[in-house]
Amino acid sequence: MISFKNVHYRYEPEGIEALRGVSLEIKDHEHVVLIGPNGCGKTTLIQHLNALLLPAVGSVTVDGLDTQQAHNHAKIRTLVGMVFQNPDNQIIGTTVEEDVAFGPENLRLPPAEIRKRVAEALDRAEIGDLSLRNIENLSGGEKRLVAIAGVLAMRPRYIAFDEPTAFLDPAAADRVLEIIDKLRQEGIGIIHITHNMAQAALAERVVVMNRGIIFLDGTPREIFGKADELQQIDILLPQVTQILIKLRKSGLPVCTDIVNVDEAVGQIQGLIKKA
């Protein structure tokens, strides 16, 4: 379990606080999506997960290990993997397999074990065929999968994704989301920042941040049922929920706490049958 207790953080000593007393618990195998306007502290929060940032006040523990203790950092960084927004600034190796090997090499694993983990990670990220390719010749989606494989080679229990589908075309974004979903099913805890509400609707839990605090926390249905509160911080509802709200306003008897397409289709089909 990852636990935040009253975490405060500011980048500059005299600057505004990026996190203002965040308390949060993320259970093993949980799929949590973080949403919120730009600058609300989402990235700052996930960078606390593997001790890239340390709380000025409060504490963060990962499976009982306190991030304030420097001797815990290597272990914490194997427990929590981090996939940054821009893979170009995350990939270190020149070829795919070299990059994936970077983490295990830092863990000082024997060469045979490193090669085993690289093959396994490439397989899990479904990019085994790219192993010898030069990074510069890959597409944006492929680079994103290489970044994921690089993290998987560390065999983490949790992975934090900072907008993993940003700048990708729909097909590449779907491929990345499929891999994330597969990892979730394998039991890896997922912490996922997104601005895409359709993606947020698929999570087990949605945490809404605003100005460095946890604004709302609940299931997608609970969160997107609070349309007025979300509107206050300029967060749009998933498109499917917006459609149902409009249908409701036009007089059709539909539920408006629906967040995914399949349920919405069921509702509309029910109405058609009744008519």
Binding site: L52, R77, T94, E97, A101, E105, N106, L132, I135, E136
Partner: protein, 263 residues
């Protein structure tokens, strides 16, 4: 896409050689290229070029590697052509004092330089960077006793190999952005071009610093810490390497004999 000098996976014999052997060959060849007389150098150049062509490196790739250094090559040529000390029997072509001997010297110097480029391209394009870095680390290993941070140097080389093409791409992107807004280095007078060049350099520099910052964070996130690391690469000299060393030594002995005979 920028692929000059960067590794491209292949299956020919040269790919299978131990990187230490290839690195030692390249260093030996470089010394020979700078030392030997014109005829052996010319033959060696042809052999290098044929080796490159038979290993999937095209003339276009060699040309791309030469292009950024074109100005430097022209300067080498001019320096020899204009300031050649050996003018015995020289035919003075113009009042600038360009002699036939000077032109000949210029061609030879440029040929030597091109040979060095082909040798370097042959090494870098047929050796995966991690294997190349492992070979460099192997040769630097004795320096550990002098407390030289060999591991850190190896990581720095890895990052340099990774970032060079990325930075050149970034330069191209900024150039295109300048052209798209009616600027760029191609159209205007010297002063305006200097101004655009400065903004290009600043853009690339700022981008590099930002990138370095994020990269350092990403490295830390993957448990990087200065000091000892292991490597996925295991270096092993095999039969094919011994055979290559034998052939290489034979070739070098023939060339040295030829060189001594000719001089």
């Amino acid at each position: 896409m920028y692929d000059t000098g960067t590794f491209i996976a292949g299956q020919t014999l040269i790919y299978k050689l131990d990187p230490r052997v290839k690195l030692a060959f390249t260093v030996t060849l470089s010394i020979f290229i700078l030392w030997a007389s014109p005829l052996p150098i010319f033959s060696l150049g042809v052999i290098l070029l044929l080796t490159a062509l038979t290993n999937g490196i095209t003339l276009r790739t060699v040309g791309q590697s030469v292009r950024p250094l074109l100005l430097f090559i022209i300067l080498i040529f001019l320096a020899h052509a204009l300031f050649a000390s050996e003018v015995e029997g020289a035919l003075f072509v113009s009042y600038l004092g360009i002699s036939l001997g000077g032109i000949q010297g210029g061609f030879i110097a440029v040929w030597r330089f091109l040979c060095l480029i082909v040798a370097a391209v042959l090494l870098t394009m047929t050796t995966a960077p991690s294997r190349l870095v492992a070979a460099i680390k192997y040769f630097l290993h004795p320096l550990k006793f002098l407390r030289v941070p060999v591991e850190d140097i190896a990581v720095m080389i890895t990052l340099a190999l990774r970032m060079m093409p990325a930075l050149l791409l970034q330069k191209k992107k900024i150039e295109r952005a300048q052209i798209a807004r009616g600027g760029g280095l191609r159209r205007f007078g010297l002063w305006v071009r200097a101004k655009y060049f400065l903004s290009l350099v600043l853009g690339v520099l700022l981008g590099t610093f930002r990138r370095a910052d994020e990269l350092a964070l990403a490295m830390e996130a993957r448990a990087y810490a200065r000091g000892e690391r292991t490597s996925a690469v295991e270096l092993k000299i095999r039969q094919v390497d011994y055979l290559a060393i034998l052939l290489f030594c034979l070739m070098i002995i023939i060339f040295i004999a030829l060189n001594l005979f000719l001089s």
